[in-house]
Amino acid sequence: MYAFTYHRPKSVADAVALLGQFEDPKLLGGGQTLLPTLKQRLARPSDLIDLGQIPELQGIREEAGGLTVGAFTRHAEVAHSETVQRVIPALASLAEGIGDRQVRNMGTLGGSICNADPSADYPAAVVALKATVRTDRREIAGDDFFTGMFETALEPGEIVTAVHFRTPDKAAYAKFRNPASRYAIVGVFVAVFGSEVRVTVTGAGPSVFRADDMEAALAQDFRADALNGASVSADGLNADIHASADYRAHLVRVMARRAVEACG
């Protein structure tokens, strides 16, 4: 690991101020992606700003038709929260499926969405659950937050403070995971809000996306078999040692079917 200077601010305002002071600072959430990246010398930040001691970034609460989850809330806290299990059980179960036990004990919601890994699980929930991403200076609609592979709508020096998820009528997440990394090869989140159905796909493309045909088919007829005629194109999907683009496209429908069935 290259050398850096470590900071541990006690407030979001202090963290924002620190971000503005240095040449190439990086925010440290749970560190489950950043630290392995630094260990491999794939990044060389001048300063690490640890967000772990900022009370305003923590906690889970019910709020305005949904749940607000602080950016520094760890995956294990979301998974085991009675509030999340009661209000949006699909979100708790998604969090319980991230990485392994030790990763879930460290990794954070904010870290996951700001890194915007194409195979991360949380982006599927942010878009499907009509979330609002709150930052130190504004609110960003979940639909607009993810802009590409490892890219988000955040400005330089902007810090995510919390995510507000809307409570769906029903929802489920189904994931075909890489057995070694436990990242999603394909993950599909299905959420129903009245007559609207959202189907979001992670792992398959460069960034999370909505499967429009599947949403339309399910809005007509909310059954797994309604997806028989719907598909996503393999064009532009990820292809790697683990799965070809065609296979990923196939998996999207399989996972969407499973998610619909899990909605009950």
Partner: protein, 165 residues
Amino acid sequence: MPCTVSMTVNGKAVSREVEERTLLVTFLRDQLGLTGTHVGCDTSQCGACVVHIDGRSVKSCTMLAAQADGAAVTTIEGLAAADGTLHPMQAAFREHHGLQCGFCTPGMVMSAVDLVTANPSPSEHDVREGLEGNICRCTGYHNIVKAVMAGAEAMQGGTMKAAAE
């Protein structure tokens, strides 16, 4: 630039000056001499370095010592009683031959204690899922799972199930 980190390790307060980039596992092994915590992969995958931070199991190779400042850390050396009596989970690994080469064992035991603390009566499936962050290169999983099931019972105050020969 060096910084000072202070934490409680296995019940004792420690304070040392370290480089800011020092990993917790490096701090434990090189500064404190607690070499029971192993480094298996160095890529955050194998779990040989698992320790407890304020009761939660974490990979100490994927955490800075500075992040643990102020925390209570328990390593494999801190599990047994002061008189050397093994923790029930350690005793279960011995009884059920839950190790072959032994390299992954400290991490396996620390993960197992955390998972049983959260779920006192785990099913075999729960144990296998709970140990997903730990890799045994000898592939000795069968007896590891048996050991964790027996250790879970013993941690609940039950008697240690004898290994079936």
